[in-house]
């Protein structure tokens, strides 16, 4: 979290929006990752 304001000690951004934005992209990404990882055990005879 670095901005002009950081160096002057001011507030460093809107954490609630940042969290929501990250959840927006991470949740579908984790879904895709889970689907992918579930296929890997077959490689080792699972």
């Amino acid at each position: 979290m670095s901005t002009n304001a950081e160096s002057t000690g001011a507030r460093s951004g809107p954490p609630a929006v940042a969290w929501l934005a990250w959840v927006w992209v991470v949740v579908p990404f984790l879904y895709g990752l889970y689907q992918l990882v579930a296929k890997i055990p077959a490689l080792f005879g699972g």
């Binding site: 979290m1 670095s2 901005t3 002009n4 304001a5 950081e6 160096s7 001011a10 507030r11 460093s12 951004g13 809107p14 954490p15 929006v17 940042a18 934005a21 990250w22 927006w24 992209v25 579908p28 990404f29 879904y31 895709g32 990752l33 689907q35 992918l36 990882v37 296929k39 890997i40 055990p41 077959a42 490689l43 080792f44 005879g45």
Partner: protein, 463 residues
């Protein structure tokens, strides 16, 4: 919507705005357009419904994807300058409109039985969205993260790899749910799936253009000063325009580096399943599932390599990381060529590393361009460099498939089918390594006068 809403001047970040909002904005674009690599799930439903009985169904169903990738390279090269001039919100908005419209036109085409509309929609209109969307966040991320440009662009470009991971199972389950697969597949199911894709991606990508901001003039991360960027001999504080970049040997050396690095990776990636089955036929009845697991583990390596190696390049330097991609990559190819199928674990590790270097090559190149040419028109330069991707996308599969098919026709069994192709890959990687060694700082005669780029390099003056 006022035209100014999309312009760069309207999205200058106010004091206190968190730069950590830019990566999710970039990811919302890249995770969406990365769907392109999951196109194959639509092939069978299209072939068994509106193209049923057509002898060219295989080629026709591949056409939207092929055209989309060609349009990616072309539109990134053609619109790169406009992306830099108008800013990331404009670029992300256009990408959203084009990518979503591509699906909607395809949906209409399937609904009324006009396959040319699928080719036009997904391949041409959607392909333009791919190209503009791919480069849209790159220069903005580099400007927000001058202290960690490799990490920032690596994160976004990892998203492009992640897009297919999401779309592949999601699209497949949707096609099942709408009756586009199974014993009695319906074209209406494919049309509905396209329609839902268009609408959902429009909403998902909108977060990108709503959220993205450019840094104000003079902004720098706390505790970081622009002079710190000049830590290596290749890193410039000067600026080079896209047109001038094309006149430098550095651009073309890097073009060869990227082409051969991608060619070497795509050669394995594109034929991963048959390669595994030829190397390890003893997997028995479960060989298809094991090969699918091999494809999955390579996808994971490709994606994680984009973030890990690109972030590492911030620490060790861009030239050094490409030495690893190309030099160690060549040695790993040598290992699997000489070792054959003697050790499955070593084969897996070597393959994963090669593919991670392939992904890393994509993700690190924007930061390499920033080092050489500055941030002035790095998006446009990146767009033009992506023609290397299009070239490698043809070269890699042609080399591996043509040689493997010839070996199969000659009755060769097992790993021997790939020996010649892998030797060619080693040669290409060595050539790429030499080209990387030849890269030197850009000559001063190509630099822009400092006063003409002051506004562009830092986004804009506060609106």
């Amino acid at each position: 919507m006022a035209a100014g809403f999309l312009q760069r001047e309207r999205i200058v970040a106010p004091p206190g705005w968190s730069r950590w909002l830019v990566p999710p904005a970039a990811l919302s674009i890249h995770l969406a357009i990365g769907q392109a690599y999951a196109w194959s799930v639509f092939k069978l439903p299209l072939a068994s419904t509106m193209l049923e009985g057509n002898p060219a169904a295989g080629t026709l169903t591949a056409l939207p994807f092929t055209l989309g990738i060609v349009m990616l390279g072309v539109s990134a090269a053609v619109f790169g300058t406009a992306v830099d001039r108008n800013g990331p919100r404009w670029a992300m908005f256009i990408a959203t409109i084009c990518f979503s419209t591509g699906f909607l036109v395809s949906a209409l085409g399937v609904a009324i039985g006009q396959y040319w509309m699928v080719i036009l929609g997904y391949g041409v209109i959607g392909g333009i969205g791919l190209g503009i969307g791919y480069i849209s966040p790159v220069s903005t991320l580099i400007k927000w993260f001058p202290d960690r440009p490799g990490m920032a662009t690596g994160l976004a470009i990892m998203g492009f790899g992640g897009g297919a991971l999401i779309a592949s199972p999601w699209s497949a389950s949707m096609l099942r749910g709408f009756g586009a697969t199974g014993d009695d597949p319906q074209a209406s199911g494919v049309a509905t799936a396209f329609l839902v894709h268009g609408l959902v991606y429009a909403v998902f990508m909108s977060v990108g253009w709503l959220l993205v901001r450019v840094p104000a003039e003079g902004w720098a991360p706390a505790g970081w000063h622009p002079t710190e960027a000049k830590t290596g001999s290749l890193i410039t504080t000067a600026q080079v325009s896209a047109n001038n970049a094309l006149r430098t040997p550095q651009f073309w050396l890097l073009w060869v580096v990227l082409t051969f690095n991608v060619t070497a990776g795509i050669g394995i990636l594109e034929r991963a399943s048959p390669i595994f089955q030829d190397y390890f036929p003893d997997a028995g009845t479960q060989i298809a599932a094991a090969a699918a697991g091999f494809v999955a583990i390579l996808s994971l390596a490709n994606m994680s390599g984009r973030f890990i190696w690109s972030s590492t390049s911030d620490l060790v330097g861009r030239k050094n990381i490409y030495r690893v991609y190309l030099g160690v990559g060549a040695l790993l190819y040598l290992l699997i060529t000489l070792m054959g199928n003697a050790n499955q674990t070593l084969f897996l590790i070597a393959s994963m590393l090669i593919i991670s270097f392939y992904g890393g090559g994509f993700a690190t190149v924007p930061a390499y361009l920033r080092d050489l040419f500055g941030t002035y028109q790095v998006g446009a330069i990146h767009g033009r460099l992506l023609t290397a991707w299009s070239t490698a996308g043809v070269l890699g599969p042609v080399i591996v498939n043509a040689i493997a098919d010839a070996q199969i026709a000659a009755g060769v069994e097992g790993p021997g089918r790939y020996t010649l192709a892998f030797w060619i890959m080693i040669g290409l990687l060595v050539v790429g390594f030499i080209c990387n060694e030849l890269i030197r700082p850009v000559d001063e005669r190509y630099h822009e006068p400092a006063d003409s780029v002051a506004t562009r390099t830092t986004g804009a003056k506060a609106a």
